[in-house]
């Protein structure tokens, strides 16, 4: 059995994981990044539209500053976020983006002079200032007061990831790709590293580290229809939850993106609407401005997704063999714009739908997209419950997104959190020595070896794909955009049953080498536990906030629910244990109206009914 020692073990090599690793490597520590795929294939590469940072360089961003970014983000979160964290985030985003520019990202820049743009299907004019020429420019995105989403065409995530991976190579960050962490090694108080399966050979290894970071991104693949890459199955969250002492925060907060294409669920960027694209119904009429006169197509994602669903329920969806959908219209933006600034969208439409978005409409519907919940950390990125364990990026609940994330704030989070958490980890590493108890390491390894042997030759009866499908169907059918007591209770019951089945798996193949059936079998019981955290958390949260919309509790209830859900899982249990903590200790912006989305608010000052 190979044992590998390092200072910092980053589980996940997307933007957040690599940004943290670079910080540690540049401070002189050894950092190893684990990745399911080569790091440049991480799902960060699929982020298209932009990164929010309040540079205020372009004319429509004039007057922007961290304060406005802070306000937009807190409102976007529906006051579910940690405001101290949002403040740090908004203040540091301009710095992080400039650092990315210094490292090589080819951000689009301000071009002085007059140009036209579209808003709500209407053509308007703007004039960029001469003295801003060559500074980083921005485009419009949902839920923001200013144009703040800095971009590289619509391959922003790709450009950022390639640049960051370049810096990782330059800084000597080691990458062990095609590896999967299948459990954390810990003694109940300290995290000591992880048991890792090599996805090239199938062998197990132990990685021992002074600090361990979970940066594995989202877990959208517990849903059947998701914009997420096939690798986004929550591996990092699962191993944290399985410690029994590390809680996951706000797992019920699951975002649906308005424009997943039908039928493949591939995302087309919010930049389409930001640049002036409109949503149309079966009669080819706009409808968003009727529901949201102020923001129309550019309300926040939770709101647009709900309005689209409402509109379809009114019978105004377009019927297709894949269910009902709506149209996204970007034709008026013109060939030049679509083939440059929305080039990925153009290619996706051509390659996956066989349509030309310059002349044709794009079929879209809300699709699972982002997980606001994740490994609960404090503002330094340190996980609750285990010393030496950290988390950053979508995998974490650092909690600047609360119950709804604004478009462009996730790319920003990866590098801002990466920078801040990276600095904190360096501080931690400087003052920390540890010992590795071989008994703890061996028992962690043995447990996984036994699991693997049992999957091949045990007396399990269930097939992995069938159980996975059952789980995904429950989430799609009962834990979607609109939620209610009856459906959620049913979902919890069904998932408890499925969790039992997931404990009784047996491979059909021999499991040798980099066997993909083995990989799924090892992950699946944990995925069902994540699903239960989502469904049970949603059942218990009796209010509507951000992306968590309860038909039976339509009000945002600040009186009783201005709290963050913490989900713990004790070994052998069939449900998570839920605890709650205040959403934010520091209140810079008191709860109020978001300015879009409607809905009643039960204010914190209201007395008990």
């Amino acid at each position: 059995m190979q044992i590998i020692y390092t200072d910092l073990l980053c589980i996940g090599s997307g933007l957040a994981g690599e940004r943290v690793a670079i910080e540690a490597a540049q401070a002189g520590f050894e950092a190893i990044c684990l990745s399911l795929v080569p790091p440049r294939r991480s799902h960060s590469s699929a982020a298209q539209g932009g990164m929010q940072a309040s540079l205020g360089n372009c004319i429509k961003g004039e007057g922007d500053c961290p304060d406005v970014h802070f306000q937009d983000t807190v409102k976007g979160s529906d006051w579910g976020c940690d405001q101290e964290v949002v403040r740090m985030f908004a203040d540091n985003a301009p710095l992080a983006i400039r650092q990315m520019a210094y490292w090589g990202v080819p951000w689009n820049r301000v071009v002085p002079g007059k140009s036209s743009y579209y808003k709500g299907g209407e053509k308007l004019e703007k004039e960029e200032k001469k003295d801003r020429e060559g500074l980083i420019t921005a485009r419009d995105f949902g839920g923001t007061a200013k144009w703040r989403a800095c971009y590289c065409s619509d391959g922003t995530g790709h450009a950022m990831l390639y640049t960051l991976d370049n810096v990782a190579v330059q800084s000597g960050v080691k990458v062990h790709d095609r590896t999967e962490a299948i459990s954390l090694i810990h003694d109940g108080e300290k995290c000591l590293g992880a048991v890792v399966r090599c996805l090239k050979t199938g062998e197990l290894r132990a990685y021992l580290a002074k600090a361990t970071l979970i940066a594995t991104g989202g877990f959208g693949r517990i849903y059947r229809a998701s914009t997420n890459a096939v690798i986004n199955d929550g591996g990092g969250l699962i191993i944290a939850l399985d410690t029994g002492v590390v809680p996951l925060g706000n797992m019920e907060a699951v975002q649906f993106h308005p424009t997943g294409i039908v039928p493949t669920d591939i995302l087309v960027t919010e930049g389409c609407r930001g640049d002036g694209g409109t949503l149309l119904d079966v009669n080819l009429e706009r409808f968003m401005h009727v529901y949201e006169p102020e923001k129309a197509e550019l309300a926040s994602r939770d709101v647009v997704s709900r309005r689209m669903t409402e509109h379809i329920r009114k019978g105004l969806g377009v019927k297709s063999s894949y269910g009902e959908h709506l149209w996204l219209d970007i034709r008026h933006l013109g060939k030049q714009h679509i083939t440059t600034k929305l080039r990925e969208v153009y290619e996706i439409c051509k390659n996956f739908l066989g349509i030309d978005p310059i002349t044709e409409l794009i079929p879209v519907r809300p699709t699972q997209h982002y997980s606001m919940g994740g490994v609960r950390t404090n503002k330094d990125g340190a996980a609750y419950g285990l010393k030496g364990l950290f988390s950053a990026g979508e995998a974490s609940c650092w909690d600047m997104h609360g119950f709804n994330r604004l478009g462009g704030n996730s790319l920003a989070e990866t590098v801002v959190a990466g920078m801040i958490v990276g600095e904190k980890i360096v501080e931690f590493l400087k003052g920390y020595e540890t010992g590795f108890d071989t008994k703890v390491v061996n028992s962690a390894l043995r447990k996984q070896q036994e699991r693997m042997a049992d999957l091949v030759s045990g007396d399990g009866k269930e097939g992995v794909f069938e159980v996975r499908d059952a789980m995904q169907d429950v989430l799609m059918d009962y834990v979607g955009i609109f939620r209610n007591e009856k459906d959620l209770a049913l979902a919890v019951d069904k998932l408890k049953e499925i969790h039992k089945r997931a404990g009784n798996l047996k491979l059909k193949s021999n499991g040798t080498g980099a066997n993909p059936e083995m990989a799924l079998a090892l992950r699946l019981p944990g995925m069902v536990r994540l699903a239960l955290c989502v469904a049970y958390g949603a059942l218990e949260r009796k209010e509507s906030r951000g992306s968590h919309a309860r038909e039976d509790f339509p009000e945002r209830n600040d009186r009783d629910w201005l709290v963050r859900t913490l989900a713990y899982w004790k070994e052998g249990e069939d449900l998570p244990e839920l605890k709650y903590e205040p959403a934010t200790k520091v209140v810079e912006l008191p709860p109020g109206d978001r300015g879009y989305g409607g809905g009643k608010i039960i204010s914190a000052e209201t007395k008990e009914a």
């Binding site: 795929v37 080569p38 440049r40 294939r41 991480s42 799902h43 590469s45 699929a46 540079l55 710095l95 983006i97 400039r98 650092q99 520019a101 210094y102 490292w103 090589g104 080819p106 951000w107 689009n108 820049r109 071009v111 020429e133 060559g134 500074l135 980083i136 590289c152 391959g155 790709h158 450009a159 370049n166 190579v169 330059q170 990458v175 790709d177 095609r178 996805l199 090239k200 199938g202 096939v230 690798i231 039928p263 493949t264 591939i266 440059t340 290619e347 996706i348 390659n351 996956f352 066989g354 491979l507 059909k508 193949s509 021999n510 040798t512 080498g513 980099a514 066997n515 993909p516 059936e517």
Partner: protein
């Protein structure tokens, strides 16, 4: 009527002593909008759960699913069954170490390439967190982005005759990367620094000009133009060295 598709898939698991390299047949009925991502997953889930292949974004963005499809390297995710004959042959991408079946180790190859071409901005300037960003002309940013669009899928390597003959050939992807840094004003390397890396048989002189790389690039990058661009820059540089009054 729906076609009956026959998939001939290369099978070999190097970690299994009983496994021998072979072609194996799978049958699948064609459905509406079937692409190879859906087809291969169906085959794995319904017929052989040990089948190894790679997909990640399944949207043509990450480059994970490059393989040889009826003799031609391409991305499986955006290859539609309706564009192929009923007899479909899938092979792993050549030029990379085989992980198993259709899955190859591109990560090690590309990391090594990135190290060899020193694929990062070389500058003496320190990052100043308090300063405004350095200005750049938007058209330059867009030019850099055009070359930055490479997804390291490996199709160009798989389609390159030189890369199949010599393991140390850097490939079109590396020359494209060098071109990206040559036009980036933030990179302070001199021409000689670039040419030390690519002015060899492993670099621009290894290319036989067969254009396979550009033909198969799923992002339609102008790979041959970049090769010509780098060669031209190198020629000019060499000429300047020879002609003393130009020094």
């Amino acid at each position: 009527m729906a076609r009956k598709l026959i998939f001939n898939i290369f099978r070999y698991n190097p970690m299994d002593p009983s496994s021998k390299p072979e072609m194996k047949k799978f049958k699948l009925e064609e459905t509406e909008n079937l692409n190879l991502f859906v087809a291969l997953n169906k085959i794995r889930e319904e017929q052989d759960p040990s089948l190894q292949f790679d997909f990640c974004c399944r949207a043509g963005i990450c480059g994970a699913c490059a393989m040889v499809i009826n003799g031609r390297p391409g991305l499986a995710c955006h290859t539609k069954a309706k564009d192929l004959p009923a007899d479909i042959t899938l092979m792993p991408l050549p030029g990379f170490k085989l992980v198993g079946d259709l899955s190859v180790d591109t990560g090690t190859w590309f990391r090594s390439m990135n190290e060899k071409v020193r694929s990062w901005i070389h500058t003496d300037g320190e990052f100043d967190p308090n300063a405004e960003e350095e200005r750049m002309d938007n058209s330059v940013a867009e030019q850099i982005y055009e070359l930055e669009r490479c997804i390291e899928c490996g199709c160009c390597v798989g389609a390159c005759a030189t890369a199949q003959m010599r393991e140390d050939f850097l490939g079109a992807v590396a020359l494209n990367r060098i071109a990206r840094f040559i036009i980036d004003p933030r990179d302070k390397r001199q021409e000689k620094d670039y040419f030390e890396v690519v002015g060899t048989d492993q670099g621009i002189f290894g290319c036989m000009g067969l254009l396979g790389c550009e033909d198969v690039c799923p992002k339609h990058l102008p790979l041959q133009d970049q090769l010509a661009f780098v060669r031209r820059r190198m020629g000019m540089y060499a000429l300047k060295k020879i002609i003393p009054w130009k020094n």
